[in-house]
């Protein structure tokens, strides 16, 4: 019998084992990562357990204790300890429970990183002209979204970025489309809609893929994500600027309804007309009132002046020289009307006129008394 050294034995066994590709399904336990580079965990079922080892960069899933997974790799021994383990290359989650668990872990991780922060959400333009639609052209959601967009906002330009929304190729295909948008379409698109219809959690898995979520986070165009039915939630929706409940809802959120906008315009015009009318009426009223105030003031002034003139006239009348005649005095004048105040103004036989309060007489001078 051949006698081997320990290292010869271990390396020989390793050589034999490396030729046996293996896929083992079991529950994860004792999961830990050392030095950020080495991933260790045990895979177990009710009766047995086996160690697994892989390099951190190969781990494309978030896994945790309790998850049911399939490990693809090959059996191997560690050269130092000779310990048996599975050298894992790929890991796939099995069952809804594991997916759910992974989903929660990733959600927490990305939330902690700030990917879902409300502060980084961009506002969508109110009246977009061009929309990028990232979805599968074969999906029912595509037809629905297209129909709703065209119906609501007829002049909209729609650019389709066809992607796989399901299956192993989906994440890479979506990421590629988003990269294409960032490269060539940033200035041409007002909004991007990333969408797919309903399905099981496995079907929607591409929209919970960490790389896809990060690609949406890095998208330079404001985006709406609507995946699945109303009850479904995906991480892609949380990272979007606007989260839509369904593909149809995404279309509704992306563009206004033309009738609503028309109604709004009519309302605004009516409001402005009303405002202007009010303003005009109030201005007319002010001008009218100012004018009438002025005219009334003039009328008042004229009345006062008339009354003043009337008063002065009355006063003047009270001084009428003929008022004295009523008391028995009389006025004697020459025939030319000159008032005689002294007998020296007269000669004998001069004709004179005497005016009484009532009536006049003519006479001549007969005698002087000096």
């Amino acid at each position: 019998m051949t006698v081997y050294s320990v290292s010869e034995f271990v390396s020989g066994v390793n050589e034999l084992l490396s030729g046996i590709p293996t896929c083992v399904q079991g529950e994860v336990s004792n999961f830990h990562v050392a030095q950020n580079r080495f991933v260790w965990f045990d895979l177990k079922d009710e009766k047995s357990a086996v160690s697994c080892f892989m390099l951190a960069f190969q781990l494309n899933q978030i896994i945790a204790d309790g998850m049911l997974i399939q490990v693809t790799g090959n059996p191997a021994l560690f050269s130092k300890s000779g310990r048996f383990h599975i050298r894992a290359h790929t890991i796939q989650l099995v069952g809804a429970g594991s997916l759910k668990q992974q989903y929660e872990l990733l959600k927490k991780k990305l939330a902690n990183e700030g990917l879902f922060d409300a502060a980084r959400k961009r506002q969508l333009p109110r009246f977009p002209q061009t929309i990028g639609l990232v979805t599968s052209p074969d999906a029912a959601a595509y037809t629905d979204v297209l129909k709703i967009l065209r119906h609501r906002w007829p002049n909209l330009q729609i650019k389709l970025f066809p992607v796989n929304v399901q299956g192993a190729q989906a994440p890479a295909s979506i990421i590629q489309a988003l990269q294409l948008i960032n490269k060539n379409w940033v200035n041409k698109l007002d909004v991007a809609i990333i969408t797919r219809g309903g399905g099981s959690m496995e079907d929607l898995q591409a929209f919970n893929d960490e790389a896809v979520v990060r690609a949406i986070f890095g998208l330079q165009v404001p985006c709406i994500v609507g995946v699945g039915h109303e009850r479904d939630e995906t991480l892609a929706e949380f990272v979007a600027d606007i989260r839509a409940s369904t593909p149809s809802n995404a279309a509704e959120l992306a563009v206004p309804h033309v009738a609503d906008v028309q109604a709004q315009i009519t309302h605004l015009v009516t409001q402005q007309q009303h405002y202007l009318q009010q303003k005009l009426a109030s201005s007319i009223h002010t001008v009218t009132q100012d004018f009438l105030d002025q005219v009334n003031y003039w009328q008042q002034t004229i009345k006062q002046k008339l009354s003043a003139v009337q008063h002065a006239k009355q006063l003047l009348l009270s001084y009428h020289p003929k008022n004295i005649l009523a008391r028995g005095y009389s006025i004697t004048t020459l025939t030319n009307g000159t008032v005689i105040t002294s007998a020296k103004q007269l000669k004998l036989k001069t004709p004179i006129t005497t005016t009484f309060a009532s009536g006049k007489i003519s006479s001549t001078v007969l005698k002087f008394w000096h």
Binding site: W298, I302, K305, V309, K313, L315, L316, Y319, H320
Partner: protein, 76 residues
């Protein structure tokens, strides 16, 4: 410009003149002859002033009527 009899008198001057005549009567400054003359002058002044004021009053009333006319037309 429509031809209109424009009141052209200097109201203030004439009114002051009227008051002056009355005040002079009050103070007994006029003899009989001057008094008769001034009395007639005073009456003429009072007449002028009254006519002037009545004309102005008429004009203001016309303005007021004219002002109301276009407003009622635009409303109808």
């Amino acid at each position: 410009m429509p031809k209109k009899t424009k009141p052209t008198i200097n109201f203030s001057e004439q009114f002051v003149e009227l008051e002056k005549i009355t005040a002079n009567f009050e103070a007994g400054k006029y003899d009989l002859e001057t008094g008769l003359k001034k009395f007639e002058d005073g009456l003429q002044l009072a007449k002028n002033l009254q006519q002037y004021l009545q004309q102005v009053e008429q004009r203001i009333a016309t303005i007021k009527t004219k002002y109301h006319e276009p407003t009622s037309k635009t409303k109808a």
